[in-house]
């Protein structure tokens, strides 16, 4: 019998620094978009909104770190949910993440050009909408081509700019806290400008936008050398770094003494720094405006931070292209999406079809978001249909919905996997576990996962309560995807509501072997034998 031709697989070209850079490039840019929006909504409680979302994010990060190190495959969250909760939940989680990544591509490419327009006014969206649209379109198309050429090339690009960004943001933090931060101003601002409960919920739901990105590092796990040891190391640094930046910017915005007077608002009234950063004029470039107001360093920052912001946003958009193609690749391998999405380019060994399809989705979203500004007649229709929300705000709503939905499922999956697969070696575990015996085997219940689940479902509830359009459009995306999934599974003759048979143990051995984690593989096989002996069942590995 002839052997079937070997399916080309993703190559392991991402180094530890590259792994950090993939995650950082996504999350580091989020604060550039999120800061102004959160300040506009949560006012004097913006740092509390970032703190709540940040602590939830730490829980999410720890969950992803544990799971990505134990199951280093490209699917990220959707793979963990698929494995822990079954096919249909795996699809829902993956579909929510795909929504996020396609929006990520558009939202950050769009914002990238907004930041650049501070240096090149010809790109300003409000003055030249067609030019802005064309440039964003070209950026998305260019990133698609870059990603098809290969992960090493796009990864190297990410690594260099991420390094520069970390240095620069650390400098902003350092000079800001050393020369301009006053704790008494922070406390005064918080006391005087505390928002309504509705606005605080709105701000918190927007703050989670600033913490979307660990999905990238778990996807890079399949392309990382020795992921079980590398992923925990890079993830902990990443979690702390992004938490620090988000808390720093929000605390500085509320408690900083600017070195130049804040201009009066459009009505001639004096305004506080946080109001200035959160108004319509500056909320799209709040980080660069904040940096320019830091004593001594501000003069230099005003020159390069818009460019820095643009670069960060560009690599975040690139992470969206990378992430969406890898998730689609993994979902296709699990027969949650048609097999065309797992086709790998013969020369470059990258998932070319997935890249082009989801960049295509991103282009559709771009057109949707840009249409009101390109056509005045459509502007009136949008204003009526979307209750005054513009296209980009609508995408932001969906972004928060997709992230909160997928993260919620990941927490449940982590608990399920701890109980169902205790034999799987974990080089990293979330802290605070309660040991108990289940079917004769000792397992550990993760308390932090429950805390994280409660936190992220709160944020999902805040999103549904405070975002008029997101509460309809988000669930609609899930339902439409689910309908397509059911039709696909029925046509393929696969179980529609139940899961198909998965050889998880065999697959896990292969995953660990491919990852070069041979010690873990041996440990896994030994654990299987011991678990089966305890439970009186026959293993399949």
């Amino acid at each position: 019998m002839k052997n079937a031709p070997e399916q080309p697989s993703l190559r392991r070209a991402v180094t530890p620094w590259g792994s950090f850079a993939w995650g950082y490039s996504d999350v580091g840019a989020d604060i550039f978009v999120g800061l102004g929006l959160v300040l506009g909504a949560a006012a004097g409680a913006s740092n509390i909104a970032f703190l709540f979302a940040g602590l939830v994010y730490v829980c999410v990060g720890l969950a992803y770190t544990e799971l990505a190190a134990a199951y280093p495959v490209a699917g990220g969250g959707q793979y963990f949910v698929l494995r822990g909760l079954g096919d249909i939940f795996g699809f829902i989680a993956g579909w929510a993440v795909l929504l996020d990544f396609t929006i990520d591509i558009v939202l950050f490419a769009w914002s990238c050009i907004d930041y650049l327009s501070k240096l090149m006014p010809v790109l300003a969206f409000t003055i030249h909408p067609w030019t802005h649209f064309a440039v964003v379109f070209l950026v998305i198309a260019g990133l698609a081509v870059l990603n098809v050429i290969g992960v090493r090339e796009s990864s190297a690009f990410n690594e260099i700019v991420s390094g520069l960004d970390v240095v620069s943001e650390t400098a902003i933090l350092f000079f800001g806290f050393l020369f301009a931060f006053r704790p008494e101003i922070l406390l005064h601002t918080m006391s005087l400008n505390w928002p309504t409960t509705f606005n605080l919920m709105n701000g918190t739901s927007l703050a989670i936008i600033s913490f979307v990105g660990l999905e990238s590092i778990s996807q890079a796990a399949q392309e990382t050398q020795r992921p079980a040891s590398v992923i925990p190391r890079t993830s902990i640094s990443l979690i702390l770094t992004i938490l620090i930046f988000a808390l720093s910017y929000s605390n500085l915005a509320l408690g900083m003494q600017p070195w130049t007077p804040i201009p009066v608002d459009a009505h001639g009234h004096a305004q506080a720094l946080w109001q200035y950063l959160g108004n319509e004029e500056n909320n799209g470039s709040a980080v660069s405006v904040l940096a320019s107001l830091i004593p001594y360093y501000g003069a230099l920052a005003a020159l390069y931070v818009p460019l820095l912001g643009a670069i960060l946003l560009l690599i975040s958009s690139n992470s969206g292209v990378f992430g969406s193609s890898r998730i689609a690749y993994a979902m296709s391998q699990s027969q949650l999406l048609p097999s065309i999405f797992q086709r790998v380019h013969k020369k470059f060994r990258t998932p070319a079809v997935s890249i082009f399809v989801f960049c295509g989705f991103a282009i559709v979203e771009l057109v949707f978001a840009a249409l009101p500004s390109l056509s005045h007649s459509l502007n009136a229709i949008y204003a009526h249909a979307f209750r005054g929300e513009d296209g980009i705000t609508f995408l932001g709503d969906l972004y928060a919905f997709g992230a909160a939905t997928s993260y919620s499922f990941v927490f449940v999956a982590l608990v399920a996997l701890r109980i169902r697969e205790p034999e799987s070696p974990r080089r990293f575990k979330m802290p605070f576990n309660i040991p108990f015996t289940y079917k004769g085997v000792r397992v550990e219940f993760p308390v932090v996962a429950v805390i994280g689940f409660l936190g992220i479902t709160s944020i999902l509830a805040f999103t549904m309560i405070t975002h008029l359009i997101g509460r309809i459009a988000g669930p609609s995306w899930i339902l439409l995807g689910l309908l397509a999934y059911l039709i696909y599974r029925k046509r393929k003759g696969l179980p529609v509501f139940r899961s198909k048979a998965h050889a998880w143990r065999k697959q896990q051995v292969q995953i660990l072997r491919d990852a070069g984690e041979l010690e873990m593989m041996d440990e896994y096989i030994a654990n299987i034998k011991a678990t089966d002996a305890l439970r009186g069942t026959k293993g399949s590995a």
């Binding site: 703190l51 650390t170 006391s191």
Partner: protein, 72 residues
């Protein structure tokens, strides 16, 4: 880039930045405590200070591990 990340210069830069973070985090904790005391409004500042110290310690540990195992 990878060569630079593996170099001694990079390791020392991380050690220096880690030390700065620990100092900055400690200064922030003290400054916030002097103004806010046990008021919950000081919480974001305290968490930020602790996170800075935490990241500084992570970087310091990385440096020490690297010294012990130069190939890692």
């Amino acid at each position: 880039m990878n060569n630079f990340v593996r170099s001694e210069t990079y390791a020392r830069a991380r050690l220096v930045s880690g030390t700065i973070m620990i100092v900055l985090g400690a200064m922030l904790l003290v400054g916030m405590f002097r103004q806010a005391g046990f008021d919950w409004k000081g919480l974001p500042g305290y968490v930020l200070g602790l996170a800075l110290i935490g990241l500084g310690i992570v970087r310091y540990r990385e440096y020490v591990l690297r010294k012990k195992r130069p190939s890692s």
